[in-house]
């Protein structure tokens, strides 16, 4: 074949190396090169992945479907909106994404006068796709563990066009001892569906990021939801026991991470 003839021995052995590397990671290793540059096929693959991620950023949050799925595992839910009126405003105004729309604040306040151990917020963040795919499997794994441990759980609050800190306000309104915020992470090229979970002890507006613990990259092919739920359970238990979260609460359960590939 003319194509084979055109390939030098040197190029062939480089290609063999590339095959060995690509088997070991999803990172874009072993792409080969034309001169200093990426080959045409790789340039186009990259452009396609970028296009898909761009589309995930602008996808609509389907709270209704999520609400039904959570009802099936025995979780009540309530929908709310952040103060950001639309997606474009949301992208440029993080301050609005961090707080509730006025109308929803009063509504949430009336829901849970008694207080709970754990408040749960599900926010679209930067990828509604991530929430659609991973929020239910994560909560389905976490909920039995929380209940077995005797923790009380409030209704799940869905918040559209929201950022992590919206959980501080909601956690305070629900009188939760700690709040878990499940949120769509920035879509990457190889993962437009990555979910993050943020834990904040004693949620109240004004908490800083150093006071939170984060479990990131929750998705099939990353940290799978059941394993993420086990990590979250450990963090929840320790946070409530030590009454703190953030930098001061370093995760020490090494074995869980070591088994990430199996989970």
């Amino acid at each position: 074949m003319a194509k084979d003839l055109a390939m030098t021995d040197a190029a062939r052995v480089s290609r063999e190396t590339n095959t060995v590397l690509t088997a070991l990671t999803d990172a874009r290793v072993g792409l080969g090169r034309v001169g200093a540059s990426m080959p045409t096929a790789e340039v186009l693959k990259f452009a396609y992945a970028h296009a898909r991620a761009r589309d995930a950023v602008h996808a609509d949050f389907d709270a209704d479907a999520l609400g039904e799925a959570l009802a099936a595992i025995g979780l009540e839910s309530v929908s709310a909106r952040s103060a950001a009126p639309d997606r474009m405003t949301y992208l440029r105004r993080p301050d609005l994404g961090r707080r509730l729309a006025d109308a929803d604040r009063a509504r949430l306040d009336a829901l849970q006068a008694e207080g709970v151990d754990i408040g749960i917020v599900v926010a679209d963040g930067l990828s509604a796709t991530a929430v659609h795919v991973n929020a239910v499997p994560f909560l389905a794994a976490l909920l039995p563990m929380l209940r077995n441990a005797g923790f009380t759980v409030g209704p799940v609050a869905f918040v559209q066009n929201a950022r992590v800190a919206v959980g501080d306000e909601i956690g305070a309104l629900l009188r939760a001892r700690l709040v878990l915020v499940l949120i769509g992470e920035r879509p990457g090229l190889s993962s437009a569906d990555s979910l993050g979970v943020y834990l904040t002890h004693g949620p109240v507006p004004g908490r800083s990021d150093a006071e939170r613990n984060c479990i990131s990259n929750i998705r099939e092919g990353g940290l799978v939801p059941p394993l993420a739920a086990r990590k979250a359970m450990w963090l929840v238990s320790e946070s409530l026991r030590r009454q703190l979260s953030g930098v001061a609460l370093k995760e020490e359960e090494a074995t869980l991470i070591g088994t990430a590939a199996e989970g």
């Binding site: 990172a27 950023v57 150093a210 995760e251």
Partner: protein, 460 residues
């Protein structure tokens, strides 16, 4: 003190230096978000005209963030070198720009001047500069640092090999390291952003990198980019840590939101120095920064984001870092909306860092919710290469699968080397040749499965 100027028949007034600086800043979404941006294009240029007449000395008496309220301001004021400042002490900001562009402001003169400049002076003059000015002056600044190799020499550009993996899988990380080394990357550092903050996992990664560097005798340094307290903890446990990393910002309150204080950084540096792991020098710190972090943390005090960023370099400078980089497009469109704003910010950050004497690199990057793409990154890489950037990032295929953003690829650094004829850190360049990875001209050679570096995969 109020600042006034008449321009276009209008009297423009600015309440104080902080407001004048903010309104003089080229437009970016973060300043609009903070409510400190100029309200019109005309006001912005009027502010620049007014700022051009402000004496540099004014920055030594009118603090943008009060001395009493902020330890970064105290650091800046207390460490200002009045003797070094003397050659430009009589200048206004506008005169300073003009002088910087003349041959009188040579590499040697600028090096001697660095400790006499405050971040605010440097930020101010950058606001009067066009992109080409930022490039011309930055390329004259020479900041050379050393650990196991020499970074920042004229005609060189280093690369941080960034082999991140979503769950810190060592074989996955090893594959990216091998790929990067085969492309001649890694002289700035082999640096992993770990997914985990678990000390046992971080220690394990540190041991892995240490093993690679020593087994193959690679003249470079490694770093696990975790919180400074974790690095200190590892050093106390006898883990082989080369560089101590920390994200830092230009205000005390923002650093607080990162869970970090200046004392912690001092402690981290001392811990790293105690190991004496550098072979040709003892620059042991690696810092990352980025415009918008102060606003994001609610710690900006009404100061524009570019000035806050320049103040972060004063923090870096105090700890003699090996490398510093702005992660310029990582923070998102609410701070830098599009390719134009990211390009401008990248050039400003590099210029300000270099003029202050910081070994400034850049993570040329963007996220998928910003209005930017690879073409914008090509533009910024080309401009920063021309400006003499200390180092850039090398990520497989420009796609970081752990941090979910796009940076520059192993191919991108080859591109800019080819266009501008840039070499690598000399010790590393010599190693590549010894390993048969490059020829005498520094060009990559082809290699097979039998290349010794492939054994890294078996060991991991």
């Amino acid at each position: 003190m109020t600042y006034r100027i008449i321009a276009g028949g209008t009297l423009w007034a600015f309440a104080d230096l902080k407001q004048l600086m903010a309104k003089a800043t080229p437009l970016r979404s973060g300043d609009v978000l903070a409510g400190v941006a100029a309200s019109s294009a005309e006001e912005s240029v009027a502010a620049r005209m007014c700022l051009a007449d402000v004496p540099l000395r004014q920055f030594l008496t009118e603090a943008l963030i009060p001395y009493e309220a902020d330890d970064v301001t105290r650091l800046i004021m207390d460490s200002h070198d009045a003797t070094a400042f003397r050659p430009v002490a009589h200048m206004t900001v506008g005169q300073f720009r003009d002088w910087l562009l003349t041959p009188a402001a040579s590499s040697a003169v600028l090096s001697a001047l660095a400790r006499g400049l405050t971040p605010e002076m440097v930020a101010a003059v950058s606001k009067l500069m066009r992109n080409q000015d930022l490039i011309l002056v930055a390329r004259k600044c020479r900041v050379v640092t050393r650990f196991r190799n020499t970074i920042g020499l004229a005609g060189t550009m280093a690369v941080r090999l960034q082999p991140n993996h979503p769950y810190d899988d060592k074989r996955g990380i090893a594959a990216s390291i091998v790929d990067g080394l085969l492309y001649g990357c890694g002289d700035a550092v082999i640096g992993i952003n770990p997914a985990s903050d678990n000390i046992a996992v971080l220690s394990d990664l540190n041991h892995m990198l240490d093993e690679i560097v020593h087994r193959y005798d690679i003249p470079t340094q490694t770093c696990i980019l975790t919180h400074v307290t974790s690095s200190i903890g590892m050093i106390e446990q006898g883990v082989p840590v080369d560089l101590v990393f920390q994200s830092v910002a230009g205000t005390q309150k923002t650093n607080q939101s990162f869970g970090v204080t200046l004392d912690m950084l001092r402690e981290g540096r001392d811990a790293a120095l105690s190991l004496k792991r550098g072979t040709v020098g003892d620059n042991v710190m690696y810092f990352e920064t980025g415009q918008g972090s102060a606003l994001s943390a609610g710690g900006h005090h009404g100061v524009d984001q570019q000035t806050c960023e320049a103040r972060a370099y004063a923090v870096c400078r105090a700890f003699d870092p090996l490398i510093v980089n702005t992660v310029v497009g990582f923070i998102g469109p609410e701070y830098l909306a599009d390719g134009k704003q990211i390009v401008r910010a990248g050039l400003e950050d590099h210029f300000c860092g270099k003029l202050l004497g910081v070994p400034m690199g850049c993570d040329i990057c963007y996220t998928n919710h910003a209005e930017a793409d690879q073409d914008d990154m090509d533009v910024l890489l080309t401009l920063l290469g021309a400006a003499g950037v200390t180092f850039v990032i090398g990520v497989p295929g420009a796609d970081d699968i752990m941090l979910n953003y796009q940076s520059t690829s192993f191919h991108d650094q080859l591109y800019i080397r080819e266009v501008l004829g840039l070499g690598r850190a000399p010790e590393f360049e010599a190693w590549l040749q010894r390993m048969g990875l490059t020829d005498a001209a520094g060009q990559l050679t082809h290699h097979g499965l039998d290349h010794p570096l492939l054994t890294i995969l078996e060991a991991s």
